[in-house]
Symmetry: C2
């Protein structure tokens, strides 16, 4: 029953896989195999295939969509349910003003060159990879210098190249008729959270710290995207903005995570040499050694580590790398990337940045809308101040209707700066100077109470790239049991299909019992795949390629003794259990409350 | 403990609600109240408020996002888990070619007029609502005739208006540098499923019927959006494309739903007069009376009805209205809208259309990629045909290398059209004519078997507007218990917050027990809201406004006897139960396995 037949009726599609935007020469055999499997089984494929494919755009097929849904569900459980952060959802089309404020209009660019002969556009840094270890950190001047120095020509036709100039990576559109209102597709979900800060602050009853999350699409109009799922023009993110008082970078739940041992790669070390396993260290030690600057950064590195572990990404393919000075955004105080090793090398899957007060301050400034928070003092702070105290009667007598404005102007003056010599004060009202004699006011020392101070909060932002995580997970789950027998070793809670349920043969009496089983399993919201075609071995093989952790087979003995066979993907072990126990056993296996070896045979 | 204090610290935001895109005069007091509550509690609000707001764009706040998530989860459970349809996820940016094929480039327009004086743009039909019952069904000529006939002027400045002309409602952008590759933001998620038909057909092992779903954003660049959440420029949809053999519009699960009694409003009747409750009829009767044309339409009307019921939309505020001839798309064979009654009138929340073979046929034609399916005959069909049978030896001798091409050309000829007179046949190879004598071939009658036929599948499309459903649900859930005491009567599974859990006072010993309770509830993936500020009555009121079905209070008795008070939102009934039983009781209440009145007090 476990013969390893291949799936020839499906395999016929192996040859016609098209990857318009993947430079095949970049791929190791492993990546090629995974991309082929991903298309054949329905994880993902290049978009718009029937119209020739579209560089930088991918579709998620039935298994890929379900896989990503599961990754998002687990993310939500951690960040929304357990941590209690508030999820919001804002539009992708965003008016220009927001990106003027955020700096994207000016800064969200890549340096581009065009061939003067064939007009092909290129990312300038990609033409310098052989001449510089991190060419994307170079500025325009440095890039142009190197393009000249090394005599770089168009890689397509050999023609001369233009100077490098910044190309804005936001997709642009017009809102409504005409071109008066310009909109951009958001390059990150974060801005939607920043510009709603005042409403969210109120939602959290005007107390910080609090966290806001958004899960959704973002866009980056790449000049010439390659690397398939790794560099997309349209992608999905899950972002958290955690708003804090900059004078208090502790975290209330730091104790829970401080013992986690995590492979860290600090910016100080020569990064290309470091082996992540050699710098594994607890978060507490990292703080003591000043590798990490704050509890709150440590907490989110820890939480990210736990999330990645929980979906099946762990071990030596995972590390946290700190950005160097030139790499991180100009406003960022610190930034660490969770990187996963794939056929494309180490790829950034999560970025955890201390964005300081940059974003809120900019929107505060550009919108004119106060986005500050009040930090209440435990005790009001009292201080003695010199103030101008107006004699309303005397002032009113002299200045009549104008006295209201004069009083306001006088009270704004700093009492310390008013001369002691009894001379009159000058104020300017509506462009005209007035002299106010001492009989209209006096300077007194009074006690003032300050109940709190207004500050602009800082933001810690863990930002998860869902497409990269999905791809990295598929690649890290892939193994071959025998030559060309492919398995995806997904954790049961992550697998797109929870179980395959089969009648041994497509006979009505077996199909009927099978359908009844499936109905009971579906009532537990499990995703079940029914299959009655081909040998059982072939059906197992299909499920192994889809990463389905368990299969259930109904045979003629099932009709006699009400038992079914349940099979585990990785061990290929099988055990017979009572049909009546199947829903509970399967559910416990999927929730990892039960280990397959512990199942008692019926 | 149940004193009905209002929430003054939160209420202060009542006055500053801004709804840039809502024409307040259109709103009844009820809609105004709901929109105010929606913003104050964090369901939704107009986007980009700090930059003056954006017409046609809304943000979902923490409660709105969670509410919509729950609606999507229930939708997925029905359509993906129970029905077994495959969910996919495709980009919103779509190359122009796709919309040339789909017809959107030409047809997805509204008639627009501009004021010649102040340049303000208007939807032409909106200027004619007083002169025609359904002005959006008029064509350009009719609209221009009526604009002249009734002397319509600019509603803003009274200036003269331009002629009405079609304005395309897709947002346009450029993919990559330059303007060579034009992309549009999809106006529906459907096209992403159609253009992948060949891959999805293969995923379903080349058998129809099958269903594919997509949940995601779509865009419509409205000329001048009003009505807040009802008419958005960016919105969320959940769409199903169910591919069928046009010669078989039965449905395998029709029996299950045929007895559902559903308020139908067929196109034949004068629609504005009809009372939906008066035409409630079972789906079976509707088919017998030819109100519905097929089982498959009946099935999806039934499934939509069940979905809307399951989230809490039922009763006299729900009806299914058939499109009239002028209203439905030119290619649609039939279309029914699920409409819900709100302050904005009856609004379309779901459209269920028989799109015939239109979409697949168009992509088949424009892409040149075969998107047909093979319907296998139960028995191969045999027929006798006259064919040209070549004598390979004789032909090869005469024509050498050319004989291969000649043989192919001869075999393509229709045997019935070959003269009986023994004359030679003429074939043209590479532009040159050849005469082939009878010694090289003969005409014979042979028996041919046909195993199946290629057809273009038809598509039934239920398309759910998630924003409208969310809004309609909030409005239909709203009631006032006493003047200005507002409650949202959400079903427990739908409510954004599953339970509020409070210590009677913010004392450490009570808070500690409360936090322990919350931890246990969160482990069951319940969304819990902690609140320790204000009186208990005030905290209940906040939760009632958020639509939270249950609240749990920990008091000093809890410390003695390990019991807590659980309170139901709508009855305001309270009962004391053991803390140990809380997770199970709460979970059963939320899954509606347990009725509050049936809880046994500890």
């Amino acid at each position: 029953m476990t013969e390893l037949e291949r799936d020839s009726d499906i395999d016929k599609t192996d040859d016609d896989v098209e990857n318009a935007d993947i430079d095949e020469s970049e791929l190791s055999g492993r990546a090629g195999k995974i991309i082929t499997l991903a298309k054949r089984r329905g994880f993902f494929w290049n978009s718009n295939e029937i119209y020739g494919g579209s560089a930088g755009f991918y579709d998620y097929g039935p298994l890929g969509t379900r896989l990503e849904c599961n990754l998002v569900d687990i993310w939500r459980d951690i960040f929304v349910i357990q941590e209690g952060y508030a999820e919001i959802s804002t539009p992708v089309i965003t008016p220009e003003m927001v990106f003027s404020a955020s700096g994207h209009l000016k800064e969200f660019t890549d340096l581009m060159v065009e061939c003067k002969k064939c007009s092909e556009p290129f990312r300038a840094d990609q033409l310098l990879t052989e001449h510089h270890p991190q060419p994307d950190n170079l500025n325009a001047e440095e890039v142009n210098g190197m393009l000249t120095e090394f005599g770089i020509k168009c890689p397509v036709c050999g023609g001369a190249l233009s100077e490098a100039y910044p190309f804005n990576l936001m997709f642009k559109t017009n809102i409504g008729p005409g071109s008066k209102r310009i909109g951009y597709l958001r390059p990150e979900t974060a801005q939607g959270m920043f510009i709603n800060f005042h409403l969210l602050y109120r939602y959290f009853r005007e107390k910080i710290p609090f966290g806001v999350v958004q899960i959704g699409r973002a866009f980056r109009n790449e000049i010439s995207p390659r690397q398939g799922m790794i560099r997309l023009r349209e992608f999905k993110m899950a972002e958290l903005e955690y708003f804090i008082d900059p004078s208090d970078k502790s975290h209330p739940k730091y104790e829970r995570i401080k013992g986690l041992k995590i492979p860290l790669l600090p910016a100080g070390k020569p990064q290309e040499e470091a082996k992540p396993t050699t710098v594994a260290i607890t978060l507490e030690e990292a703080i003591e050694k000043k590798i990490l600057g704050s509890e709150v950064m440590a907490y989110f590195i820890g939480l990210t580590y736990e999330y990645l572990n929980s979906i099946g990404l762990s071990g030596p393919s995972l590390r946290f790398r700190q950005h160097g000075e030139k790499e991180k955004a100009h406003y960022a105080e610190d930034c660490w990337d969770a990187e996963i090793l794939t056929s494309f090398g180490w790829i950034e899957c999560v970025g955890i940045a201390d964005r300081s007060c940059y974003d809120i301050e900019r929107h505060n400034e550009y919108s004119g809308h106060t986005l500050a928070v009040t930090i209440h003092h435990e005790q009001p702070i009292e201080r003695e101040v010199k103030k101008v105290i107006v004699d309303n009667k005397a002032l009113g007598k002299k200045f009549k209707a104008l006295s209201v404005k004069i009083k306001a102007a006088l009270e704004k003056l700093d009492g310390n700066k008013v001369a002691d010599d009894g001379s009159p004060l000058k104020v300017n009202i509506d462009g005209k100077d007035y002299e106010i004699d001492r009989d209209c006011f006096e300077v007194k020392t009074v006690t003032e109470k300050e109940f709190g101070k207004k500050i602009i909060p800082h933001v810690i932002e863990p930002s998860f790239g869902l497409d990269r995580i999905t791809f990295a997970l598929i690649e890290n789950s892939y193994y071959e049991r025998e030559s060309s027998y492919r398995v995806l070793r997904f954790k049961p809670q992550v697998a797109p299909i929870n179980a395959g349920v089969f009648p041994l043969m497509a006979k009505p009496e077996l199909v009927e019992v099978t359908q009844k089983c499936i109905e009971n399993l579906k009532n537990m919201k499990l995703n079940i795949f029914y299959d009655d075609s081909g040998s059982i071995g072939r059906r197992y093989a299909r499920m192994d390629e889809a990463g389905t952790p368990f299969c259930v087979t109904i045979d003629y003995d099932s009709l006699k003794d009400n038992t079914v066979t349940i099979r585990e993907r990785d061990s290929t072990d099988q055990v017979r259990i009572k049909i009546a126990n199947l829903p509970k056993i399967l559910n416990d296996l999927i929730e990892e409350k039960l280990i397959f070896k512990e199942i008692k045979a019926a």
